[in-house]
Symmetry: C2
Subunit: 344 residues, 2 copies
């Protein structure tokens, strides 16, 4: 079962190496045969091939069982004609992964790690379902020094298919969806709200649905994170809200993601390339390792292996293993080792 | 000196009444002659006149010294052909108030009021400068059941004039501006970054400027609010980030705003109409009263009167006066009384 690794830029290669080690060890223990291939992507691919998403990388991704991405971007490529991030958007589009799942959980014992008062963080367990291949990320643009333009576009089917993912996920959780929009201003948000509401009425009346304006959600996430179950949101709002939600658990370094909807799943930690600490063994690989667990769950269909990885990470953190972003002293490799020791 | 009051909807009338009482009393003490006029606006104006921003209200606003707005909107008008919020956008546009100032301060003794750990909230003192008459709020729209479209447009001058407000404000504060964008995706953000950078180099080299991606800012605001001075942002990002920032101080009910740039200034608390608690004397009028202080500062030019009002609010809160949103038992009127007693 072929897994394509795209280490990318900055801390990407370090956290990808960590995820690979854990996947390999977990696969060995669970008797799953995996083959890994690395391909150039992002800034690294611009340097090597002049293109953030080279054709050979694209071909490899489309034929893989799953794609794992480290991180892309960095100031080095800010002026590039095609930026690393353009490669990431092209990858998401090529794979057709319209639903980006970003879970955030404050585990017992972890309430004190983040910036919130422990009594507010306690029990937070959110799944953000972010639309990933539409909206302002994929509309037409007009670049310009005097005037610039971006377009936010949504078609009803685009809303419905990602809303379906959120409703289905809610059925397996606490049965509640909060759909985010800015319906008091944006036409796309009014379509979003109508499409989500109608799908809900038609097919998911058993799920509780509420609509929350994006500004109110930015507030409520911090005031009462434990009050949400599944949060459904369009692309740009999801980008902002998922970063905000991620630190509630302590650090963005802990947060994994899975992007689904096409034949091949894409897995990436939600943190960026963090060029300031790249190559120094300082990155937190937990988000990458937990993304590997989601890969095991959704692309390999090996739930037991996914749970095994997740438990190993939880136990490592519970036992006090902490990278610098969580106030600890472990490096990326030592934290990975702590996880490896707790597998199986 | 004529001040137009637009009480609007939900808790709008209550907090407007509070702001008026405080303004009247402060003006009396400072020998400033003020005349107040109330005009219909928002949902209330839809009910009364079929239009959220009637012509006579528009005319009164354009001839006033300053406009004070309570709040607009509510589920009652969700299906209206022209929503209350459309009236608000038309008002901002009519007054040409392109720069929306949203200060957020955690006063000594207030560190424990909000959801953040006191050591993280301590010392936070942020001024958000939000662009208010451009971006997705004012682009062309295509409404539709099958497909919808919004446009984000910015012209270089629109960025420059609001960036200038941020740089000038920074000079009177701690000399630092963090400009927010999503330059790795949006064309308008690349223009935003370039225009802010070039203006900075040309005219404000003494101010420290950094660029922060909007997703990173959503995270950093919660992780380290005290590390920011002035935050400069486009319209939609500013809407989201200012609500997020407001709760760091404890409650969105505390946050005032001033919208400047035209001949007449517009002042409004940043909270919404809160229909669930409307008419129950439960709203926190502090944001409205502090908006009245900004009105005294920017439209009346009476800094001493502005400081007097701000100090009265700070002392009331320091002495334990708390509305329900801050865990207290005072009603809107009793809190206003506590402020009135501390004036002058
Ligand atoms: C790198 C960037 C284009 C990307 C995004 O905005 O989607 C990132 O922030 C993310 O959230 O995955
Ligand atoms: C009511 C709404 C249109 C408005 C906005 O989005 O600007 C409000 O949220 C605000 O922040 O003043």
């Amino acid at each position: 079962r072929r897994i394509v690794l795209l280490p990318g830029d900055g801390v990407g290669p370090e956290v990808t190496a960590a995820a690979r080690l854990v996947l390999e060890e977990a696969a060995r223990r669970h008797d799953v045969a995996l083959a890994f291939e690395e391909h150039p992507f992002g800034g690294a691919a611009i340097d090597a091939a002049g293109d953030p998403f080279p054709d050979e990388t694209r071909a490899a991704c489309l034929q893989a069982e799953a794609v794992f991405l480290g991180a892309v971007g960095g100031p080095k490529w800010d002026g590039a004609p095609r930026r690393p991030e353009a490669g990431l958007l092209a990858l998401r589009e090529a794979l057709g992964v319209f639903a980006n799942l970003r879970p955030m959980r404050v585990l017992p014992g972890m309430e004190t790690l983040g910036p919130l008062k422990p009594e507010i963080a306690r029990g937070a367990d959110i799944l953000i379902v972010r639309e990933l291949t539409g909206g302002a990320y994929f509309g037409r643009r007009e670049e310009g020094r005097a005037r610039a333009r971006d377009e936010i576009v949504y078609a009803r089917e685009e809303v419905e298919r990602v809303a379906r993912v959120a409703f289905e996920a809610a059925r397996g959780r606490r049965g509640r969806v909060a759909s985010v929009d800015k319906a008091n201003v944006l036409a796309t948000s009014r379509l979003w709200r109508a499409a989500a509401s109608e799908l809900h009425e038609r097919e998911y009346p058993d799920v509780a649905l509420e609509h929350v304006l994006v500004d109110a959600m930015a507030m409520k996430l911090v005031l009462a994170p434990a009050s949400f179950d599944v949060i459904l949101t369009e692309n740009m709002f999801g980008d902002i809200l998922s970063d905000e939600a991620s630190v509630i658990a302590g650090s963005i370094g802990l947060s994994p993601s899975a992007s689904l909807g096409g034949a091949v799943g894409l897995y990436e930690p939600i943190h960026g390339s963090a060029p300031d600490i790249a190559g120094q063994d300082k990155a937190n690989p937990a988000g990458a390792i937990l993304s590997a667990a989601m890969l095991a769950r959704f692309s390999l269909g090996t739930e037991h292996m996914a749970r095994d990885i997740e438990q190993a990470v939880e136990e490592a953190i519970a036992s006090g293993a902490r990278t610098a972003d969580l106030g600890g002293t472990l490096g990326c490799r030592a934290f990975t080792q702590a996880v490896l020791e707790r597998l199986g």
